[in-house]
Every structure is written in structure tokens, then in C-alpha cells.
Symmetry: D3
Subunit: 241 residues, 6 copies
């Protein structure tokens, strides 16, 4: 689905950098809308969620097509998405920014975890959110929502390009989530963004240390004073960064 | 795409009934969310828009994929949708309920009219709305929106099931628009809804005449008094309905 | 229901003044939230709607209580409201600021007109809006909405204090609507507001004439220059105001 | 007020099942809008809130009727609601989905707790939320809101049918809240919903155990494979469920 | 205030082109957010509003600073803005996208017209909108709003950079409004945008004529076929464009 | 900037009272809109934020003025605000109630803390929110937001009167934040509000103790029974309040 599979070393780099830093690196390339708006982690994991996107698209539910009997259909796209999302991938759901009804619940998301997914994101809401929060799988939504997804959402298509929280998501794009939010890196940019963001993170870590030691941000952040770059070079050496 | 093409006699019936009456007929069948929410006609046409749905789906635009150069691509889905929407069909656009940028403009919609489409609907906005209002083609949107669609919308797929104004729209569903709003009739129900709505409309026309003559609505609307049905029978005879 | 019935002379005064002027007169008395927010006339009538409020309260619909059969109940509050709204009164509906489904349609509103009501207001939407616009009855809503009210609204109580468009409405309060919007005057203030607003309107008419003749607003509006008051006195005499 | 008082055994059952499961049981009966939208617990209690609804309706505040002196009136409906809410009941407030000003504060809610209420819910916000969170009383709101309720809310009526977070609430309906959200069970359905939901919960607990052991959800959830039901029967025996 | 006063010939050009075309010309230069979102003309004027921006900024009103007596102050920024807006300029108001209370009314706007302003725009609402609609001055707002501006808006600063409908507006920027909406051209780009947009408009007029004669948009719009450019050259000659 | 600098004793008093109590004291003086709507603390500090307001105003970002290079400008108002906010002050940002992009991030806010500020508030969102939460500086926002502020916000002016969360904020006004929310006290009222609120807090502490001991709120809160005031007098003596 993508010519740009996620390299293990890129994944490792992306695990150590913040969504904010990635957002800035994308901004430099003219990409301003890659952050998924208004989703949050169900619980803080102390580590980043990183993986290629596998998508599920919901459309508004028509009542005659969305009775509970539909779930008995083994081809139901929501169920199929859970059972086919590749290992290491993040299941990203376009729930039309509505949390009126759920995007998924704890049984399905537990199954997703067992199958080795890297995480799950919806711009709607999860039911059984308190249970999902305890799983060893990063999950992001807008807010808890208890009604079954059938109430307003029909799962209609798997692995199409979608919108999620007003961000464009193409299958195979790299999804990164931290304790604040989630961002989408176009697949072909993942390596260079990871490299650049690692550099930026080193400088940011240096800068924050300087600031904690009393430095002004003028000339330091960004590094418009030569001296800042010199100090940074020393700091890198001293800190093996 | 559908096993239920729109019959000319069904179309003729649907041209004479209001979206409100269709909404009630669908409601009787448990379908409560078929009205496209918060769209309005660019101008009143004094006649209904009726035709099967042909759909276009927009997703959030990623800047590098949505430069003006994209329009030079003859395969651009927005352009292709305009050039392939079948005669008599209504082009329904899922613009994610955002009118920040346009869904289409007057040149494309003029082309759609020339190609014989029955109408166009978006849950976003059209640019050049004042020109579109003057075309001999029913058009419905949320509000005028001047920025090019590339600004926030990428046309991504043609004739998929979509949402439009929170209503589910499947290709081939029958779209009916009047001076108030737009509704989606599932294709397989079009004939029976049309028949029933014609009957309902006859009764409503009778009822409003009675009300104008001083009748109370109690017992008349709905017809819980025997007498109302008797009078209606006479009225039908007298009025050839 | 109120100790302050609307006097004919107060009604006559209120027919000639704008909602904006009334809003300012209420503002002077510390009442800042009496304008019904975000409703508009279905058509311009060239005259004010004026009458005491008769209210209907909607609550969210529960499906088992809101089948079409409910309308067969002669005690259905929506029907009863239409049939009992006193002559000269304005029926004000609390539709919870939702136009997802209709607050009423043309048959009921025609009946309301026939019964001599002074107008109708909802903070939701009317179905058959284009027909209602043609009636000789002022009607205000947020936007057209075709689904039957049963879809999301249950009529639950008649002539209770309600909210409408975030304004407080008590039965018997005086409702005034012009081509812009609608405002609620507490019943006990109607006479004094009418008197004061007539005076304000005279000055505003004078002021706008002065402005059209080239006057600056400084010193004129408000009348902080003695000269403005002198000129106004002359103008009143000359214009019989 | 209701012919369906909450039976102790029904209450006990409802304490052990999730709002999500109840939502699905209601969905089977055609009730799709019983979840109170967009409220959350002020703190997690590790147990369900369960009790019949006792309601308070707010309307928009008119300034002259909502001075601080109003609170001196022993008949003020907000105060009366706190002092008359029956033991074991949940006080549900219709705050018109606005958290601009508070629905109640910690002194009143402490009193409600002392009087033996089962909980409190508003679709607006509570002031002193951080103190309320520490009380031994489940409380749900949209967000903290510090201004006194008089600012925008006038308490107008006790124990009427109301809307709360777009859900219909009738006095005596059974309110259930868990760590995710709150749902309203029509009083006459409480027993059968409780029974059915207990069964569903048993199966869900079984299913999640299976999933944790590596089972696919296809055929298991829902139980479309005979084998799933057999295993479940064994599991029930083994687990005394 | 700007080094780029509006040249008469640029103004003349901008009077003949649509906001949509200008939006596309700005889009080519990377400016995607210059359209003022969700404002509309109070009445269609059949001509464009064009002029440099003169701005007024509103902040939330504090009650003790916003009594009616404030208007007696000749230095009140709203009044001063009306009396100092230079001839030919457009008064653009940042009303924080709130139409709860008015941004201005008919007396002030009549005065603005008399003083020779080119138009007025607010992202809130005007009171006396029906009178303003009849003035010979283009006016744009979100919706009519009757309460005096003091209710929620304090006029705080004149001719600062502001936001209006989410668009950035700097004093001296060129404001263009047509029957659809309003856009802001950065002052230093006005000449080149005008030139380019005139060219684009010529091609659009040609293209729409071709479409009306049966041409496909593929190859024509945009002009990817050589033949389209040849035909256009002929058309220009024939039509003196 | 203000004739009413914050006195140490007033600051001390304000550190011990809740935003809710301050809101009521302001309400008594006719100030109803001083609470900043819909912001929350990034973490609970167990102590109040108190300090005079130092403001930063954002406007919508124009792309050509908001490249990353802008941050290299030592005069960039966001940077300057951080470096000039006086010790003990609260930096209050008008981010137009949009959290689409960040208002600030952890490096800048760490610097602000190092410079001795009393806190920071935005009606948008902070990036690196999880790090900011750990700082020893109270911070309030709407929600985490990772994109750089340049994406949609241009810092345009320092220490102007602004709106923040629909509250009016003048430089020098006293900002108080607790674990629920934030409120703005006009500078000239700070002393009297602090005094009054200390008294109110004493009574509230007494009242809640009474309620915990089984007292009804009627007659107690507010103190309409003589007996309540007598008991309170005793309580004050006993508790040194």
C-alpha cells in the first residue's frame, strides 16, 4: 500500500521525539495540518505510539443497515479491520469527528492489542474507555462515548485515505502519538523528519537546560547567537548526543 | 451500482411532493436521519430536484498534494466527477461539513448542467454562488465559500458511500430537494415512498384547505375522525386527486 | 397567567419601534439577554409581530413515546398548543436550539393563523418553510428543517417559563419581532418600555435625518450637545412627533 | 411519580454493569438516545451510580429575577431540589448544555450527599469542582464552572420531564453512571434491562478472557459460532456466573 | 499607515473581479486564509466593495465600563472610528466572531456612508440590518443582531492589526467584497493580484462561454490543451479583453 | 500601567480563596463575565495562582509573515513577552479561543518560570503540555496543541487590553486561578474583593462544616436565620477566623 515501509531505525528515532517537534519539522516543509485535532490519550503511557496507519472509515448509520444483527456478519468492516490490521500498525478511524456513539470498545481493542497493533486513534470516542486506558496499547480519542457504534456510525471501508480530526491520513503514513496528541507524517518523509527531529530534540534539550540555568531565550532559541551553537557543540560532546 | 434505477413515474411523483412529507414516510419505516442537515438552495427553483445520487468524497487537503498544478491532471477526481456524473443524476459531495473552502465553482457546475445532471449538493459551500444561483440547475450548499477547494479539500473518491450533512448517501439512492432542504431515499424504497407520499400529499392538501376554511386540526390531522376521511373522499373526487 | 395584559395602546406603540431600540431600553434597566439569539423571519412582513407569549416546551424525544401514532392523541401538547394559543398571542417554542427536526409545519401554523394568533417563534426550524413564509402570520426560526418533530423533539409542556434562543420567556411576556429578530419584554415593563422606545425612535428618526444632511454623530447621537436637543424640539414640532 | 420504583435487586444488578452494555440493551429496544452526551465524572469512584431521577430544570436567567437576594428565598427551586431530592435518587439538572455558569457548588452538593442522594448530574458545570470530586457522592458534569448559577441559569421547576445532554429524562427513570458516562433507563424497562445486561456482561467477561488468550473476535463476539456458546456455558459453570 | 496606497487603476480592476478569483491568485502565493469566513452582504449591490482597511477592535465588555453613558464620551472608539475612517476606506471590525450583540447600527453606518467610506465589515452582526441593507454602502456581517454593542463588545482600539472571520487584517490591506463574501489582499500585493486576476477573469469568462457551448472542462479549465489557449487568444481579440 | 498595584496582603488573601467565591463577589458588583471560560490547569498545584495580568495578543497568522525565520527576530512579540513579563505577573494570552495551534511551548514557559512569573494562561493550547504540567508554574489552557504557534497565530501586541476566554482582561488586572478555573479581578477592586471574599470563605467553611454535621442549607446558606449568624460568630472565635 506504500512504497515507504517504516524502517526500524526510523521507528526508534520517532519513539524518542515529541509530536510538537515533528509538527515543526513538517511545518518547515509546508505541511501545517498534520496534527489530529482534539484527540487525547486515554492514559499516559510514558512512551510514544509509532506505526504506519491502517484506516477505517465510518459514514453516518442508516438504521436498516445497522441493527445488532450486522455484527454477526464476519465481513463487517469494523470487525475485519480489527482482525486484519497488520502488526505494528496504528488503526486510525475516521468517525466524522463525532463522539455521539462509540468508535469501538474494549473487547475489540483488546483483540487489536493481542494481534500486535501499535495503537488506535479515533476522532470520535471509545466505549469502556476506563478499561481501554488500562490496556498495554496506546489509544487516543476525543472523549468516552458509551453507545454502540451502530447508533450513528457505519463502518464502510478499510484502508482508504481518510480524514481524522481534520488531518489527512493515507494508509502507510506514519502515525506518532505522545502524551499530548497525535500527528501524521507522510510516509515518504518519515526518514528525513525523524532525522531532523532528532537533531532538533537535542538542541531543545540543550536549550531547556540552558534556560533552567538562567539563560534568556533571545539568541538561544532559536540559536541566533554564534555562542549558542558553540555551547551546544560542547553540550553534545559532553552528553553524547 | 444499484439494482433500483429510478423509474420515470417515480421521478414524476417525487417532483410533486415536499421533502417534509418524504421525511415522514421514511420516519414510518424507522429511517430518521435521511435529511441532509443545514444545506439550502442557492435559489428557489419552484420545482423539486430529483435524481439518483452520484457521489464525490473530499478528505482534508495535504498541501503538497493540492497545488494548483493538480487541476492540470485530467484524472483529478473533482474534474472526473463533473465529467462522468450520469445524466439525470445528482452529484452529492461529502465536504466534511466544512465551508472553509469551496466544494466547486460556477465553471464546473455549468459544465455539470450542460451534461444533463439533475442537481448538485454539498455540505460545504460553493464559490461564485451568485452565478450558480442563476443557472438552470438546482444547487444546495451550506453557505458561499470563495477559497479554491484545494485550500482544505482533496477530492479523493468517486461514487463511494458517503456522509453528507450527517445523512448516509449510497450511490444510486434517490435525492430529492425542494425549496427548504434535501433528503435521501434509499434506492429500494423509492417507489413505495413515492406512492405513499403522493397519498399523504393529497391528504395534506385537503387538510390545509379545511384548515383555511376554519377546521380544527384535532381529528383532521391526523384523520382520527371518521368524518375527516369521508370529507377527504369527496374532496378527492371533486379535485381529481 | 399574567397581571399585565397587553394594552391596545402599548401594542400600537410596539408595532412602530424596532427590536434594536427595545433592546437598548431594556439594557438601561439591566436586562441584557432578552433578544432571542439566531432566529430570523421566514419572510419580511413590513410590520412588527407583537403579542403576549404563549409557550410550548420540547424535550429530547424518546423513540417509544414518539411514534406517528402519538399525533392521533387529541391531547398531544403540540396540537393542543396550536388549538389553545389565545388570540393575539405569539406561540414561542423552546426547541432546545436544535433544528435537526422540525418544531412545526404549515398545516399547524395555518391553523394557528386562522385562530388569530399574532405569530410564532422557535429556536429550532419549521418544515414546509416556503409555504409558511407565504402565510399572513409572522414566523421566526433558525432555519428550515424537514424531519417531523417526533424525530428529536417531544412536546412536553404548555405555557411554562422557557428558554428560547437563550432568552428567558415567561408566559404573558410581550414578544416583539421585526425584520431583523425577536425580543422578549417582561410583562410588567411593557408599558414603560413602549413609551420610552417611542421617544427614542423619534430621536433616532431625527438623528438619521440629520446624519443624512451631513451632521456628525458626535454630540448628536447621543445628544450631548444642547443644540441637538433644540433642533430635535423643532423637528418634533415640524413633524408632529 | 412513577409506577416503577427501583427494586433493590435491580439496583444491585445495575451496579455491576457498564453504561456501554446498558446502551446496547436499550439499542435493541429501539432506544438510541438515552446516553447523556458529553458529561464526565468529577472523579472515578470505582463503583456505579444508580438511582431514580429527581430533576431540576434551569432556564436562561433574567437579571431582575436572579440577584443574590434570591437565594434568601427558602422556596428557591435549586435549594428546594437539594432539600427534597429523595434518598437514593439522582438529582439530574437540565442546564441547557451550558457550563458558562455553575449548576451547583460544593456546599449544596455536600448537603445532597448528607441527605442520602445517590448522585448528581448536570449537562453544565459545577463550581468548587475539586472539592466535589473528593465527596463520597458520584457527580457528573461537562466541565468546572466557577460563576454562580444566577449568572445565566434560573432554577425554575422541580421534577418535570427534562432533557440532559440531549437525553430525555423523566422523573423516576433509572440513572446509571460509571467511570465513562451516564445513561437513562426508562423506569418500566429497568428490570428487564438489568437482567439482560447481567447476561451480556457475563458473556463480555468471558469473551475478553478468550481474547486475552488469543481468540479472534470473529465467531466469538457476537457468538456466531456454536463453539463459543459451548465454551461460554463451561466458563459460566467454572466461574459461577 | 501603509506604503502601498490603493491606486485608482488597481481599484478599478478589483471592482470587476470575483472574490473567488482573488482567492485563487492569493493561494498561488501561499496565502490560504485571507477570506473572511462566514460573513455575507446585507444586500446585493451588483458591484464590488473595494477599499483599504481601516480597523476597529472589540474586546469583551466589562459591565462597569460599558454603560449607555459611555456613548456620551466623544472619544468612544466606536464613534471615533466612524468619524475618522478615511474616505474610500472599508471599516473592518473584529467582533470576536460573536453576533450576540451588535457591532454597529444604522445611524452610525449612515454617517459612515455620508463620510464617503467604501463599505463596512464585521464578523459579528449589525442591528437595524434591514435599514442598513437599503443604504448605498456595501455592508457585510454574520447575521442581524439587535442588542446594543455595549452588551458584549467594548470598542477598544482603532487601526490595529486584527482578525476578522479568522482572516488577518492589517490597516491598509485591500478589502474586496462581492455578492458572496469578502477577502483581504495584503497591501503590497494589491497591484499584482489585480493584474493577474484580471487575466484569470478573462480566461474564466472565455471558459464558461465554451462550457455553455458544450465544451468539456478537461483541457479547458485549466488550459492544458494547446487548443484552448489558441481559442482563448481569438476570443480575446473578438471580445476586446 | 495601572494605578492599582497588587498589595502583598491582598495577594496573600487571594491565595486562600476560591475562584467561585471571587466570582460571587464580582457578581454582587454587577460583573458577570470575569471568569475565563473553558480553560483548565495543566496540573493541580494545590495553591492559587495570583498576579497582575501582563498580556499578549495573537491575531490570525498570514503565511508570509509567519515563517520559522520569524523566531530569529529578537523583537518577535511572543519572545519579547516572555522576556519582559514582570516578576510576579501572570502572562495572559488572547489566542482567539483557538487551540488549533499552540500558544507557547515548554522552553518558553520554563524561561517564564525562571524569570519569576506567577503563571500563564491562554484560551488556546500549549504544546509540550506534559512537560509544562511538571513545571513549578501554574499554567492554564483549553487543551494540548502540538503545532507551532506560527501555524495559525501571529503574536502582534504586548500588554494591550484583550479578551481571554470571553473575559475582558486589562493589563494590571488581578488574575486568580485555582484547581477549577481562572478569573480576572479589575485592578481597582482587588482589595475590596479580597477582603469580602475572605469573609465569605470563612462563612462557607463554617457552612460546609454545619452541613457535614447534618444541617439543612435553608436558613444556613445564605444565612437567613439569626441562629446561623450566632453559630458562625462562635465558630469564628473557636477557629480563629
Amino acid at each position: 500500500m506504500t512504497d515507504h515501509p517504516l524502517k526500524p531505525e526510523t521507528k526508534a528515532k520517532l519513539e524518542g521525539i515529541s509530536v510538537a517537534t515533528i509538527a515543526t519539522a513538517l511545518y518547515k516543509r509546508g505541511l501545517r495540518n498534520q496534527a489530529i485535532q482534539d484527540v487525547r490519550p486515554l492514559s499516559q503511557k510514558g512512551r510514544n505510539m509509532v506505526g504506519p496507519a491502517f484506516t477505517l472509515r465510518y459514514m453516518p448509520a442508516r438504521e436498516d443497515r445497522n441493527t445488532l444483527a450486522e455484527f454477526r456478519n464476519p465481513e463487517h468492516p469494523q470487525r475485519v479491520a480489527i482482525e486484519t490490521c497488520p502488526e505494528g500498525h496504528v488503526l486510525v478511524m475516521d468517525s466524522r469527528k463525532s463522539a455521539y456513539a462509540a468508535s469501538a470498545g474494549d473487547i475489540l481493542i483488546t483483540r487489536l492489542m493481542m494481534r500486535g497493533a501499535a495503537g488506535i486513534v479515533t476522532d470520535g470516542g471509545f466505549r469502556d474507555a476506563m478499561n481501554i486506558a488500562k490496556l498495554d496499547l496506546p489509544a487516543y480519542h476525543h472523549r468516552p462515548s458509551s453507545p454502540t457504534n451502530l447508533t450513528t456510525n457505519e463502518a464502510i471501508a478499510i484502508n482508504e485515505p481518510i480524514g481524522c480530526g481534520d488531518a489527512p491520513v493515507f494508509p502507510g503514513d506514519i502515525v506518532v502519538g505522545d502524551d499530548d496528541s497525535v500527528i501524521i507524517i507522510p510516509a515518504h518523509l518519515a526518514d528525513e523528519i525523524a532525522d531532523e527531529a532528532v537533531e532538533m530534540t537535542a538542541y531543545e534539550d540543550f536549550a531547556i537546560e540552558q534556560v533552567r540555568n538562567g539563560a534568556s531565550i533571545i539568541g538561544l532559541y532559536p540559536a541566533t547567537r554564534e555562542e549558542s551553537l558553540d555551547k551546544f557543540a560542547e553540550w553534545r560532546k559532553a552528553n553524547n548526543r
